[in-house]
Symmetry: C2
Subunit: 555 residues, 2 copies
């Protein structure tokens, strides 16, 4: 017998390496969730709600390359849509499988639950379209060919795709031979444009006295770490990284010089980068928070950027060049150059005595020392990520944050996704208590699915990043309900976890020691003063004018 529609979809997802599907069940999507549960190669990961499922899928895709999410029609998919938009923004291919009412119900425009009550069944697909790069409502007839189109779109654009599956189609058999459909070709590089652009870059580099590379997030998103590293080594150029791009390449590499963040931080890196004769940007975005509130300023004439589907050399734009192709061609053309550059340094020694209250000057350097090779560090949007951005990460470790979409609450479920994507690595979640309140539920799933993360929850009694950006830091909307964070794991079913509350440096030391050695999951509440912020967050506070585009650098 031929494959069922959902059987076909799941087989294609498994070919991409997907082994877990995140979701919340719903009556219209049983036709999808049933075969997932029955597939010995797949695991259903039930989250407490759909937004959290989408965040978890985002975290999984960051580590595994692709992810899948299954929700019900209407209520489920709209709950997830913010998470999906985040994956879109940050270039993460998540397959969103949506179980729809059966075709008879749709055809008869029946007044059924989970609809807006107007007999329209494609309205949620339309709402989702800006957050996906391709979408389809599958039928037994179109499923095989549509699936190829959607898979190619997800691979080429590294964005989410939407698959609507009417309940009665889920178990329908595909026509005989349908699965033998031809794959849809991915966009191909324009070889002539590639040659011209790469020659231009190589010539500029050859002539330059000083040059540097920026290693951007697209390197990891497109799975080109090896190609990028080969290019970096072939050029012998020093490389820096921007905030969103952290750990795009190994931070222990001898050519790594540290983090570039415009005028906000690391003045010696800024000086070096901005004084270079040319800068080769490998997939970094020029966004507000990635450029130190738009204070990063590299003369456009000196910039050469290899981006997802194009290359830019100075002001010349070369479309239709794929990222990896450009890296490889550049590797063939560049010559080794010797450039004197700053030495990388991390956060240094924690500052403070054992019985002192914890301050950022102790906390962030201490976290840096806590990280080990291979760690998966998930850093929540807000002041914690800003403090960690300048930590030097160990070899083989991965630092993830969500710097363009910045949806607070993302990190906890995303850490669940990451932990399930690579269970052999240590997952460390660093979040703030305001963010934790948004999505705390998924703490319970770590235990349920056999993960042993180490979770740090920074409790500074409110939304610190908002306090730093608004007019009156003490405005009431920055306050939170006073939770007892330390008890959360136990209440959410993680009964054997190590938990602690640390308010002094000595307490933090003891808790970290336990967390690192206990062999169980760990949750540490780290208490600091209300306004205790790391340097970058304080600088951002001083840079509101450039952050919001009200002033340009130097104005």
């Amino acid at each position: 017998m031929s494959e069922t529609l959902v059987g076909h979809v799941l087989r294609r997802l498994k070919q991409l390496g997907i082994r877990e599907v995140f979701g919340v069940p719903g009556d219209f999507s049983f036709g999808i969730s049933d075969p997932i549960c029955q597939d010995p190669e797949l695991r259903w990961i039930g989250t407490s709600n759909e937004l959290n499922a989408a965040y978890a899928a985002d975290g999984y895709a960051r580590i595994k390359g692709f992810a899948a999410l299954c929700t019900a029609f209407g209520v489920g998919e709209l709950s997830a849509i913010n998470g999906l938009a985040g994956s879109y923004t940050e270039h993460l291919p998540v397959f969103h499988l949506v179980g729809m009412p059966n075709t008879k119900t749709q055809r008869e425009r029946r007044l059924v639950h989970h609809t807006l009550g107007k007999g329209e069944f494609d309205v949620f697909l339309r709402m989702a379209q800006p957050a996906v790069c391709a979408s389809s409502i599958l039928t037994p007839e179109n499923a095989a060919s549509e699936m190829e189109r959607l898979v190619t779109a997800a691979i080429s654009h590294r964005r989410p795709v939407y698959l609507g599956i009417p309940a009665d189609h889920a178990a329908a058999r595909l026509p005989q031979g349908a699965a033998a459909v031809r794959q849809v070709p991915a966009p191909a590089t324009d070889r002539e444009a590639l040659k011209e652009a790469v020659e231009l870059i190589a010539a500029k580099l050859a002539k330059a006295r000083t040059a540097a590379i920026l290693a951007g997030y697209l390197i990891t998103r497109l799975g080109c770490q090896e190609a990028a590293l080969t290019l970096v080594e072939a050029s012998n150029l020093p490389f820096a990284t921007m905030f969103m791009d952290k750990t795009a390449l190994d931070e222990t590499h001898p050519q790594f010089i540290g983090m570039y963040d415009g005028r906000i931080m690391n003045p010696e890196i800024r000086e070096f980068i901005e004084d270079c004769d040319c800068v080769l940007n490998l997939g970094a975005l020029w966004s507000d928070l990635n450029t130190g509130a738009f204070t990063a300023h590299i003369d456009p004439a000196k910039m050469m950027a290899v981006m997802h589907h194009h290359v830019r050399v100075g002001r010349a734009f070369f479309p239709n060049i794929e990222f990896c192709d450009a890296l490889e061609e550049l590797t063939r053309k560049v010559r080794k150059k010797k450039v004197t550059a700053p030495q990388v340094h991390g956060l240094g020694e924690p500052q403070g005595a054992p019985d002192d209250k914890i301050t950022p000057a102790y906390l962030y350097p201490r976290w840096e020392k806590f990280f080990r090779p291979g760690d998966l560090v998930m850093a929540e949007t807000g002041t914690v990520a800003m403090g960690l951005a300048f930590a030097r990460m160990p070899q083989g470790s991965t630092f993830q944050n969500q710097l363009l979409w910045c949806s607070i609450g993302w990190a906890t479920p995303a850490a669940l996704g990451a932990a399930l994507a690579e269970p052999a690595r240590r997952t460390i979640l660093i979040t703030g208590e305001g963010a934790l309140q948004m999505t705390l539920q998924e703490i319970g799933q770590f235990c349920r699915y056999g993960c042993k993360p180490i979770i740090f929850c920074l409790n500074n009694q409110g939304y610190l990043i908002e306090r730093l950006l608004c007019k009156d830091p003490m405005e009431c909307y920055n306050d939170l309900a006073p939770w007892n964070y330390q008890q959360l794991p136990e209440v959410l079913g993680c009964r054997d976890w190590f938990t602690a509350r640390a308010a002094t440096n000595a307490q933090l030391e003891a808790a970290m020691e336990q967390a690192a050695t206990c062999g169980r999951g760990a949750f540490i509440e780290v208490v600091t003063e209300k306004m205790a912020a790391p340097p970058m967050a304080l600088k951002l506070h001083e840079s509101i004018q450039t952050l919001y585009g009200l002033k340009r650098v130097g104005e």
Copy 2:
């Protein structure tokens, strides 16, 4: 000086009776949240996340008529969109205030956080449009007139509206005299159509041997309880209510005969209603779950329906008739009729001995007895609402559930909204543990904002409604992480609450006694067997064929 843009918006919202604004702060929306916090007549209600804020606003609008919600651009508004779509579906006017990046940033298409990274700033408004009845991006020039248009839309259609406010416009002054703008007229009833339709109905009623009224949810949504009651009494006709419409009119009224739910429940009510010569439907929807899985069947020739903007008599459709106008005109035309109808009965006595484990046969009748006049009962989607649907509610009490949109998780935040809308009434939240896991955060806000609800959380170890609707009830996606529910209030900051876990009838009795008299908030975990379902849920399980439109009644 003239009003600021946000000052003007807030003044109009206050005129509608809004005193609380639900939200989560964000940097682009400080221009809205700052003046809310500073307004002595308004209260900022911070929820843990934006979906919960939207649900809370929905609950508030159900009791107070209108509600307001304030979120940040992109991340915040998309997180809330499922809640807003629920309010749209269920006819609840919620004003969604969205703080957008400033106009300079938008004009320059800057790459800023909370965008999809493509320089588009109206994309989220476009995504929201299917979930609102009107939308606008406000400027100092258009704010006064647009606000009138939006207010009229919210009043006329009882659906959410979307107000985008660029950060730099928030505090901008309106042009002198702008606030004196003319109000936008609401749709007016076509008096000729009204006369004709009402005469037809009155004639049919006069001729009928037996007739009945269905009191629908639009009565409460449109604030027409008095007009509807006057009509019901003028006609002297017996009235029944459907599931979504529960407590649309007082269930202790002598003309109330009980709940009509097709072939699913209450056969004597069905027989009476379906045998009437004509049935006057005052604003009830013919949706799947409101009609006993489409088993309610009234001959279309006998049906007369007064709906939001139209009247239908048999197969004749009369557009442009407003609901309240029709009620009033009907009251003038109908004559009293004597009809013998079934007597209303509630759930009867709880069945079981004190030391028995709690079963639905004990639980639902016991809840019925627990309710008092004036209670606000918020019933979560799922089996709990189905068990409560047939309870007879005390005078002046309100029963809310979300039967068309059916977004599980709605009830907990919605109960917060309801409790804040009428603090003098007792708020009782009845939810399941699967639903509670979705949105538990807001338990903490009850305490923080001085509410003392009584919360019952039914723990039956999984999503029972899904178990009843899917193929294999024991499929893994119906399971949940095993939380310790009873500890939740304390951990979420409700330290003085009464909490209990009841597994036997006697334990339930003791806990209810305490909850009713302790004068504090209360949280009771009610433990039942995995498959213990009330009769309606079991019947639904048997009616899957008609529920999903695969069979019609009698086929």
